[in-house]
């Protein structure tokens, strides 16, 4: 059985990111390609940050999800070029992030978040350039006073 690539993409849409489970690995933009090589399904995955500890878990989750749907022979290929950018986050993913309390990234190289993901205030300040995962920074809203995560825009 060799399901079509579109079907595989649909399945991968349901694999959550282990650290931000409201979005899928596809929403995060790290699945770059899905293709059959003979009887082997090759999935190209791009790491967000080179040392991100979730990368290995993500590969395992992808393999498990595809195994569960009957794909036997899977190869995960780590593809570092072109490097991952937050511009690859899907629109659907961005909306889900706000709902979850994480401010989505501005275009790569951009400055601060557009608004507080909780109260939508524009009056926000940076606490730290780094945050709870390699891909995020810590910010705070001066109106509702809640701290929140913001994607580093790379």
């Amino acid at each position: 059985m060799k399901p079509a690539a579109e079907k595989i993409w649909d399945w991968l849409e349901q694999v959550p990111d282990p650290e931000i489970p409201v979005i899928s690995v596809v929403d995060l933009g790290i699945v770059r390609d899905v293709a059959w090589d003979g009887d082997t399904l090759e999935v190209a995955v791009t790491p967000t940050y080179s040392g991100c500890p979730a990368t290995r878990v993500i590969s395992m989750d992808i393999e498990t999800a595809l195994h569960d749907r009957g794909v036997q022979d899977i190869r995960i290929r780590t593809q570092i070029s072109p490097p991952w950018t937050t511009d690859w986050l899907s629109e659907k993913g961005r909306a889900k992030l706000i709902e979850y309390g994480i401010a989505p990234p501005q275009p790569a190289g951009g400055g601060g978040p557009e608004a507080c993901p909780r109260c939508d205030s524009r009056d926000v300040e940076r606490i730290s350039q780094f945050g709870s995962t390699p891909c995020k920074a810590q910010w705070r809203c001066r109106d509702c006073l809640e701290p929140f995560d913001y994607f580093k825009c790379i």
Binding site: Y49, S50, G51, S81, P83, T85, Q129, F130, Q138, K152
Partner: protein, 255 residues
């Protein structure tokens, strides 16, 4: 590409990977000890980026060497004399200011180097550089800001930052001195002649240190011997006893 001496290419890749490995380990020593939680997280994240980059550099070094050594093998099974990192990155953490000064001086060189490597004629090297440069751009912004904040801070923080700069400045020169390996890489278009990175480095460092109200020490003396492997400082051996402890105590242990 075919005319590049593979043993020299291996040497060059070890230099890149050992710099990030040794500094990554040094920075990780702060985990749980930094002055405030945000700094602790920032240092841990920086260390994580550097260790991730190490996997790519040493992974490629192992491929080029073609003796079935993985990145882990190279990191955990070599002893001091086989390491090719510059002396700067193996220097002890000292206080938080000294750690950030070391980070800034390395980041400023690292960014210039990686930018140049994105144009390497070796696609594998250009790809690793393109991935790393985004992370290192972020590192240098933070380490530069912190050097300014502490240098132009209280009289105590200023005194400590000047002391850190005086201590570490003699380790800067090594990053820009070329040897036969660098010359071969430059000739083949694999990597820049390190001397060509000096202007970009000086421009950034002088701007930040001026904002930080710090004075660059006189004199061009440079400690050397790390990247060629001729002689490391005594600190690297102690670092390796910690970093490689598990493999030394339980050879061949795996998860």
């Amino acid at each position: 590409m075919s005319d590049v001496d593979q043993s020299q290419l291996f040497e060059f890749l070890c230099r890149m990977g050992d710099n990030t490995l040794v500094l990554g380990h040094r920075v990780s020593e702060w985990c749980g000890h930094a002055p405030v939680l945000e700094e602790d997280i920032a240092l841990a994240n920086t260390a994580l980026d550097l260790i991730g980059q190490t996997q790519m550099w040493l992974g490629l070094a192992g491929e080029v060497e073609d003796k079935s050594r993985s990145a882990d093998d190279l990191a955990m099974l070599r002893d001091v004399w086989d390491f090719r990192n510059v002396l700067l990155v193996e220097q002890p953490n000292g206080d938080f200011g000294q750690t950030m000064m070391r980070q800034f001086l390395f980041d400023a060189w690292h960014l210039a180097m990686l930018k140049a490597l994105t144009g390497s004629c070796d696609d594998r090297i250009a790809a690793i550089a393109a991935k790393s440069v985004k992370e290192v751009q972020y590192h240098v912004e933070r380490s530069g800001d912190t050097v300014v904040g502490l240098g132009d801070g209280t009289s105590e923080s200023h005194r400590r930052m000047q002391k850190a700069l005086d201590l570490l400045w003699p380790y800067v020169g090594e990053m820009f001195v070329a040897d036969a390996v660098d010359e071969a890489m430059a000739k083949a278009g694999v990597a820049p002649d390190p001397a060509t990175l000096r202007d970009a480095f000086d421009a950034r460092v002088e701007a930040v240190l001026t904002d930080a109200t710090l004075t660059i020490p006189d004199g061009g003396f440079a400690h050397k011997g790390g990247k060629t492997g001729f002689q490391h400082s005594e600190h690297l051996g102690h670092l390796l006893t910690q970093m490689q402890w598990l493999q030394r105590a339980y050879p061949g242990a795996t998860w």
